[in-house]
Amino acid sequence: MTDTAVKISDAAIRRRMLKEFWFYFSQNRGAVIGLVVFAILVLTAIFAPLLAPHDPTHQYRDALLVPPFWQEGGRAEFLLGTDAVGRDMLSRLIYGAQYSLFIGIVVVSIALVGGIIIGLVAGFFGGWVDTVIMRVMDVVLAFPSLLLALVLVAVLGPGLTNAMIAIAIVYQPHFARLTRAAVMGEKAREYVTAARVAGASNLRLMVKTILPNCLAPLIVQATLSFSSAVLDSAALGFLGMGAQPPASEWGTMLAEAREFILRAWWVVTFPGLAILVSVLAINLMGDGLRDALDPKLKRS
């Protein structure tokens, strides 16, 4: 009887927390707009094969650098025009959403998991373990992130996978530091001592007792890193070190379009706009998440 009562109230608490979270999140108009745009982006990526009017890599030899349909010389079959080798811009942009989301998810997952493990170990054990780990993190942070990612890609070889690994390595210290700080704050609390006295192992203390209470700043950082990952991978693509042609990754598309900037504005404008809108949407969401998850801001 009491058992079920406890279970129900657990679920109820979770529902109430979710409701409270949504209340603060929806207060922020920008965050809701960001969420909607992000949802559209996700749907676009999932349904890209259905939405795209053309094959993104098919080259229409009779339609090189066709302008968007509303401009003179534009054709209705290529709504946003074509690029220098006659590929449909709209289809490439739609497929590009897959790249950006994929990159964001992979980079953030690697950086988050790696950072959490390292941060937990450093914060939980303290002492020389902490000192060594944090000095190593300092070294990674001493390099400008894009430069370090570039050099890592030079070591690993250009390509999308290596670019993602490089960016994840560069981002990971931020998560490690945040986790460590949160763990150090929580470690001395009574509930941790209670769990320890009850005989919980170190691993259980770290993962089940402390970690759930450190998640809020990590979620916010993960959102912000997601948008940075989209930006940085596009930058690497633009510099020729990320996804390789003919991939329809937005940064790579921009790199290919560079020589046509003064002749065909559309091949330059649309991929960049796609990057900007996605990054902006994710950042808006991040702002809303921070407001909703940070109790300090909530009260004011």
């Binding site: 920008g30 000095r135 190593v136 300092d138 070294v139 001493a142 390099f143 400008p144 992130s145 894009l146 430069l147 370090l148 570039l150 050099v151 030079a154 070591v155 070889g157 948008s227 930006l231 596009a234 930058a235 633009f238 510099l239 020729g240 070190m241 940064g251 921009l254 560079r258 900037i261 003064l262 504005w265 330059v268 404008t269 991929p271 960049g272 990057i275 900007l276 990054v279 902006l280 950042n283 808006l284 702002d287 004011s300």
Partner: protein, 335 residues
Amino acid sequence: MLRFILKKLLYLVPTMFGITLVAFGFIRLLPGDPVLLMAGERGVSPERYAQIAAQLGYDKPIWQQYLHYIGNLLQGDLGNSLVTKKPVLNEFLALFPATVELALVAIIIATAIGVPVGVIAAIKRGSWFDQLSMTAALVGFSMPIFWWGLLLIILFSGVLGWTPVSGRISLMYFFPPVTGFMLIDSLLSGQKGAFASAVSHLILPSIVLATIPLAVIARQTRSAMLEVMGEDYVRTARAKGLSPRRVIGVHALRNAMIPVVTTIGLQIGVLMAGAILTETIFSWPGIGKWMIDSISRRDYPVVQSGLLLIAAIVMIVNLLVDLTYGLINPRIRHK
């Protein structure tokens, strides 16, 4: 204060050590034989190979190689570029002023616009100015600057024809570098129109490079001001009957600037990363473009030492920011 400085300096030693390890290890992690990579030669005879390996010290055990590397570093020997055959350090010093000039102008633009915008947005919280400027700041913060640069080139160079597309100054002007800063050198040269040409070359790259720091500074200033304006001492100042201008300009702004100064300082690392993209787009002959070109030309001695030098500079700047922070905020110093 001296103890504070010494403590901070001591703190840098392990990081500096780590940075040299990264630069040292980088060349050995690359796919391919490090001896051939560093020599930039292919298909060499075994005798020549042994000769190069001995010359570079690569035939010794790894820890001796590292000591050798550190020894060379301390003597200012950062190796030679494979492409130009010139010492890397000389190339770096020749190109560095171009990046510094660009970065300085960018940070001045970012601060000169970002701080006032942040202050006004905070004072008029919720007004249309606040909403508009903070939306703009978020857009700026999310901007892929390599695309932003291309757009500005399309508009100002392509459509309007106001600014040149690349370089630091028009080829019409030639004078020996004195300070390395084109703005100053063009003035010193006394050639008519040289300064205007330098400015027109600098304006677009510096705007592009300033975009993200500007957005960050505006947001940070606004939130710092909002926080400070809720403090008791600001209320006291108001209650004393001081003019709003004095309350905001002296009591609030001074305290709000403490975190903002740190933010501005920490943007230096961001600027160095941004310089890679900005310099590539505008063919600006600075450190960022040099690094990109060297990576794509597989000029590994340059990449290795460039990485080291840039990290060292970012670290020193961060140290100076830390010290400034201690200087303007006594609470930190005495902790």
